[in-house]
């Protein structure tokens, strides 16, 4: 079974079929995906701007992170819950879509970096450490690559 055939059978699943045959389901799920993007961006940026020393400098970076984290997780869950059905409705288009491959490559990197690199280091750090800025920068680049490539799926 080739990868294209896997994508084809994914597209043929009932969920993709239901979205394709509906007039409003795709736009509706897409709009929720955008609301999720806003929350994801806010919860990522508030921590990264703190690490860059550009916001909430009077607060410990770990505190900024701990408060944003539940809503970051909520946003990630929302993005998967809406993004997967959207993808299932057009798997063959995505197979030939370069932007989607960029997004789907950057996404696991962004998630792994956030949960296994940035967050553990920030939570362990007692005093503010200027070198944490690098973590903020990498996080912003990774997440904005995901978001930008995601938007570009519709153009390419």
């Amino acid at each position: 079974m080739t990868l294209l055939e896997v994508f084809q059978s994914l597209e043929e699943m009932w969920i993709g079929e239901a979205i394709r045959t509906s007039y409003w389901l795709f736009p509706f799920i897409e709009a929720i995906h955008l609301v999720g993007l806003a929350l994801l961006g806010g919860t990522v940026l508030v921590v990264d701007l703190r690490l860059l020393g550009l916001a909430l400098r009077s607060r410990a970076a770990s505190q900024v992170l701990l408060n944003a984290r539940p809503y970051f997780v909520l946003a990630v869950v929302t993005m998967f819950a809406t993004g997967i059905p959207l993808a299932l409705s057009e798997m063959i288009k995505l197979y030939y879509n370069f932007s989607w491959w960029v997004k789907i490559t950057a996404l696991p990197l962004a998630i792994l970096f956030t949960f296994f690199v940035r967050n553990p280091i920030v939570l362990r750090e007692r005093a503010s450490n200027p070198s944490l800025a690098v973590l903020g920068l990498v996080s912003i680049v990774l997440w904005f690559t995901v978001a930008g490539a995601g938007r570009w799926i519709g153009f390419s």
Binding site: P27, A38, L49, A55, L56, Y71, A147, F155
Partner: protein
């Protein structure tokens, strides 16, 4: 007298057509508009969550506002400028878009809500600045802010779809809401 003449006038601009038909410029502006949601609505959500008592409960509201809201403003400026350009590229259709009209009304309501908070509710902020869970009036204005901006995102996304466009057969209520010009509808 409607604002249609203004949309028509914009539509005569060569740059409006050039932007609409450009291979990369329009998508770049659109992408910037969407990515700026993270900066604008995203950081605003952080402030609203604090005002609702859902996050940063041990941080004074004034600390969060003073430090985070400047980024919200940057996001808003980016959204507004790119939004104007997107309107400029497709003025007449957007002017008649039911979704665009809903979006503008919601933005006006959000602006009224923000002004009301700034000039009325926050007057006695000293009393609840440190409160983990601020008074009801404060939480209400934060909830209204979140709700209104979510509706703005929804209606903004829907502008791209042509369900209610004037150049397709529409029921009377759509023609009224969209302000379709009857002569143009009849000529279809």
């Amino acid at each position: 007298m409607s604002l249609r003449w203004f949309a028509d006038w914009l539509d005569t601009h060569a740059w409006s057509t050039a932007l609409h038909e450009s291979l990369y410029m329009y998508p770049y502006i659109e992408t910037t508009h969407v990515l700026a949601l993270t900066l604008f609505v995203g950081t605003l959500a952080i402030v609203d969550l604090r005002m609702l008592g859902f996050a940063y409960r041990t941080t004074p509201i004034s600390t969060i506002s003073q430090s985070v809201l400047p980024w919200t403003v940057v996001g808003f400026v980016i959204m507004f400028v790119t939004g104007l350009l997107l309107f400029y590229a497709i003025p007449v259709r957007t002017y008649h878009s039911v979704w665009f009209r809903i979006k503008v009304i919601m933005i006006v309501l959000a602006a009224i809500n923000a002004t009301h908070y700034h000039y009325r509710i926050s007057k006695n902020r000293i009393l609840w600045d440190n409160a983990p869970r601020p008074p009801r009036s404060v939480r209400m204005t934060a909830a209204a802010s979140l709700f209104l901006w979510v509706v703005v995102i929804f209606s903004g996304r829907m502008i791209a779809y042509n369900w209610f466009d004037c150049d397709r057969p529409q029921p009377d209520w759509v023609i009224t809401l969209a302000g379709c010009v009857i002569d143009e509808v009849a000529s279809l």
